[in-house]
Amino acid sequence: MGNVTETKVQGQGSLKMNAQLGRWRKSPVFYPLIGFIVIFVVMALVNDNFLTANNLSNVARQVSIIAIIAVGMTCAILTGGIDLSVGPVMALSGTLTAGLMIAGFPVELAVLAGLLVGALFGAGNGLFVAYAKMPPIIVTLATMGIARGLALIYTGGYPISGLPEGFAFLGRGEIFGLQLPILVMLVVYILAFILLNKTPIGRYIYAIGGNEEAARLSGVRVSRYKLLVYTLSGLTAALAGIVLTSRLMSGQPNAGVGFELDAIAAVVLGGTAIAGGRGAIVGTLISAMMLGVLNNGLNLMGVLPYVQNVIKGGIILLAIYISRSRDK
């Protein structure tokens, strides 16, 4: 061991640079960022219309819904869990908010109620996962069906439209030239970044995914934080659902079909280990953007939607194959 310290003193300069480079490469954000840049550049070269302010802002807005859901999903996956119920929870919260407004409740109250229901639904997931100790994938698979069913029952299967004008601001408004869904997304990411990187709760979320038993035995109240994580996931899904409802000015019971899979793809492509414990929220945002850019670029190129699915799936496989080397 004595030798190690000596060499360290001798070659500190070069060692520091090497370490910095190594740390960069090991950062979970490294590969997602490279992937994003590559796809961005390719799309810009292939399409003339891609690199316009209008188009880029469109991409960001389209991505915002999935990106917001992916925040809660990142937390769930970091603890070693998963939340499949986010798509239907979006629909449930969105339709409920719409329904309450139609029933005459003020916009703010309806939005709050929608968020609350999403959070409560997530907390229900959390109770089963954290306290009944059931596997997250099974719990949320079951509640996925329940949430979708509730949304369909509530709406009778029909979209709820005719929403008050004041509600449109959330999905269509602008502040400082920034579309509101993008702004909401950025705020959510900043809050999530602080939560995960700067607070004890974030540290516990990583610790639970890294080694749940060690965390529990050293006195971390694991169940409590798992409950919190699923509640957060329900909350971000609800927020996404409400933003989407406002964008469409219609509460759709069939909104968000398959969104859980897009969110999971963004999280995993973003460098979060599916087993939990490692990952970064910034990576999720970058990957969500990358998927959005890919989508948009393929659309601009006139690639048929069916073909797009195949290309997207292939790129996800390839990306994860490349980033796999990071774990070694």
Binding site: K198, T199, G210, N211, L217, G219, R221
Partner: protein, 497 residues
Amino acid sequence: MSSLLTLDHISKSFPGVKALTDISLQLREGEIHALLGENGAGKSTLMKILCGIYSPDAGSIAIDGKEQHFHTYHDAIKAGVGIIFQEFSLIPYLTATENIFLGREITNRFGMLDSTSMSKKAEALFQRLGVTIDLTEPVSHLSVAEQQFVEIAKALSLEARILVLDEPTATLTPSEADHLFNIMRELKSQGVGMIFISHHMDEIYEICDRITVLRDGCLVGECEVRSTDVDDLVEMMVGRKIENNFPPKALHTTSEVVIDVRAIQLTREAPVNSFTLHRGEILGFAGLVGSGRTKLALGLLGATPVHRKDVLVNGRAESLKSPADALNCGIGLLPESRKTEGLVLPFSIRENITLNNLAKHCDVGFIINRSHEGQVVDDLMRKVRVKAPDHECPVGNLSGGNQQKVVIARWLNHNCKVLIFDEPTRGIDVGAKAEIYRLMRALTNQGISIIMISSELPEVVGVSDRVAVFRQGRIVKTLAGDAVDSSNIIRYATGGA
């Protein structure tokens, strides 16, 4: 005698570390060869090279004089090398037979599994070992020792002529270990060459023919067991004489009771136990493996549910429903298995140390102050002498002893009053052990009380002020003062008294 296996001038480096330098080792037919060295001496690296997991930078491997190049584990198996790792590679839900033939099942002419002939072959294998095992039970129902026998049978079924046993006795009871030794003797008579890794000198003297000693990745020497005594071996391992591992015991123990366990009963059928822990003492929990020491500790801490618990901490009744509750009362646990229960491996040293006391490092109530956290961690690392480049180093890169020190530092950060050390020196080398003992004693001198669960008798005797001896889930005797000696403990632990 012919040389079955020759490792010739093997060297291996990892980025920044020279793991092995010029190691040679010869294994003869029917020989049991001990590989000895402190943790981090290079034993595992050498064995991983032998079984094709790593490839050497220099040097060669020869079997029966023929040079071999192993690129994968499968190459090594094909060449007749079998390794019994500490962590078993059995599939828990399959039977012994199914495990043995996994991946190369025997089929009949319709392509269906031929279970009759597989069972017969498996029976023959176990006969060769001289062991009877229920071949129809899932291996998860077998004891650890039996699972190990299944691993050995599996290796033999692959026609292994070279068998590596990596600390096979670490999880066995003494009688199970004896059984293993009988099997090894049987295999020896059949000409199988074995490399045996163990930290227990008595085992090496009981079963081995020759010893190769490694230190810091270099070959220190090779000797016949018969002509070498223990002190020489230890000196070869650590490069210095270790006279006394144990620090002096507490000068005067107080009668001030910190924890008064008036009654604890794990299940309705389990015996009711009671004991007290005094301020500034080390209370040893001795007993055979499986005598209920760890279960009692986990129950006390609230990590596992118990049937009945009546505990006073500093004179106040506490329910201790979870480890977090215990922490609030100032009681901490250093678990038996550091990697699976103690440390969050993807985390750095810093994150592991502050894991359960982040509130202490927060500004504005909830934002972690990194620089304060780092300073505290650096202080603690100096205090317990963790050897690492800096506090951002992942704990997975540390040696066992240093990992244990990180866990100790975590509790020091918390100002705990009571620490429960479960097998504090398992898998830790001799030098680091002495350091851990000194640390424990330094803690008790500051008024902290320690419960130490240990299966190593010299450790229990050398470190404890008092010893509670367990047998079949019951504290049968509490020894104090001069009564703390090996023969007393063994008598009570085995029911010989």
